[in-house]
Amino acid sequence: MNFFTEIGRFMIFMKYVLKRPQKWSVFWKITFREMHNIGIESLVVVALIAFFLGAVTTIQTANQLLTPSDLFPTQLIPKFVVGSVVSTSAILELAPTITCLVLAGKVGANIASEIGNKKISEQIDAYEVMGINSASFVALPKIIAGLIMIPSLIIAANFLLMTGGAVATKFTSALSFDDLIEGARMVFHPEYVEIMLIKSFIFSFIITSLSSYQGYYTEGGALEVGAAGTYAVTRICIFILFFDLVIAQIFLGL
């Protein structure tokens, strides 16, 4: 299937997904369950990754900017610059993009496999024969849950990245906690948070919709369900990085 056919099929899929749910009470019940699956169950892995990523970024940035070299034998860069670099990277890139790449593997593969399994075991056909819009029934609660929970995880990841950085200052003599915070405060722009939120909503939609689509069109058996998960993760990662570039160019490109 060529690229344009696939785009067309995705659009048709979304046309059915974005229809009004047939029973709101059932829809919200499933959505809350999905919010738990996507958000709460991903919290620990996101927290760990954000914390360590913040610490590593702080140590490595400090090492690169503050270590005297042959070219710059004396330190020319103020220490708070490290805080500026770490906080800006956290808001603009590390929190939204890295978190979503991690969630592509965890949430995306899970959604694609779950829906793919329903497809091959005829459960999707059963919904359809009952008169239920199967695409909307299986995918819309996941998309809505993703749009609520993934940005929340990204906001939490942001705090944890800075916490990781703050903890790292305790283990390095090159940089103090005050330098880190001062740097972060000096370069803070509210627009960066807006960009982060824009990214988080777009990436959330990519993760949940692409994985649902991949699962919904699974054909075959157990092998194809596994393959659907792999395809979903690969495509989600590519689309996240592509839209990361597009958003960076639109909002930050000079």
């Binding site: 075991s121 459960q123 056909d125 359809e128 024969v129 009952m130 008169g131 819009n133």
Partner: protein
């Protein structure tokens, strides 16, 4: 009543069904028989709209199913129950929740009324004390019964059964056949059963359609079978191979 007029479908460049004409009456079990790969399951999927035939008409009590918009089709499907070959039970739901599912989606019953209806359906298929089990915890025959109970939970007018006896022992097969026959008569619904089980054909075949290589080869009832076999080598071969 369901009328099928000149239905034909091509999938992947191959003609699967060609010019099928049939009428399925309510209150009697209508059987579609044929060897594996003859197009029976495709035919059933065309009838319920899971596949769209390129040719012909499918008319549900004066409603041309194929010309309906998606939302209108979904509305009509609320009157359809289907028993799938692999049961298609929702594996994350218990037996009770599976049967309750269509009621939750499409009825205005409260919790107590739904529970009462679920128990009524489960007792109709002789399945009691299994309400809280998951599909993975029950036998193949029990899964079929749950599938039937789920299919009849709402007041349906049409019931489709795709190979209801597949994977079952002869005794359980007979029980499932009797159950489908009883439900068809009691509820006076139009039932279409895909089968290659000759016992089913001989026991409950009131209106039988034999599909051979995607075309309707023969139509009759169980009392015509012996005469038809003598005159029709393909039907005779199918019968001999099935026993």
């Amino acid at each position: 009543m369901i009328e099928v007029e000149s239905v034909g479908i091509t999938l992947g460049g191959r003609k699967i069904l060609n010019n099928i004409n049939a009428t399925f009456q309510p209150g009697v079990p209508n059987l579609v028989i044929g060897a594996s790969g003859s197009g029976k399951s495709v035919f059933l999927k065309c009838l319920v709209g899971l596949l769209t035939p390129q040719e012909g008409k499918i008319i549900y009590d004066d409603q041309d199913f194929l010309s309906l918009e998606y939302d209108q089709k979904q509305e009509l499907r609320k009157q359809i129950g289907m028993l799938f070959q692999n049961n298609a039970l929702f594996d994350s739901l218990t037996v009770e929740e599976n049967v309750e599912f269509p009621l939750k989606m499409f009825s205005s019953m409260n919790r107590e009324e739904r529970k009462h209806r679920v128990n009524e359906c489960l007792s109709k298929v002789n399945l009691v004390n299994s309400n809280n089990k998951f599909p993975s915890e029950i036998s193949g025959g029990m899964k079929k019964r749950v599938g039937i109970a789920r299919a009849i939970a709402l007041p349906i007018k049409y019931l489709f059964c795709d190979e209801p006896n597949s994977g079952l022992d002869p005794l359980t097969s007979r029980v499932i056949d009797d159950l489908i026959l009883q439900i068809t008569k009691d509820l006076n619904i139009t039932t279409v059963i895909n089968s290659h089980d000759m016992k089913t054909v001989k026991d409950i075949g009131e209106n039988i359609i034999f599909i051979y290589q995607g075309a309707k080869w023969w139509q009759g009832n169980k009392s015509d079978l012996d005469t038809a076999r003598a005159q029709n080598i393909e039907l005779d071969s199918f019968f001999k191979a099935s026993f």
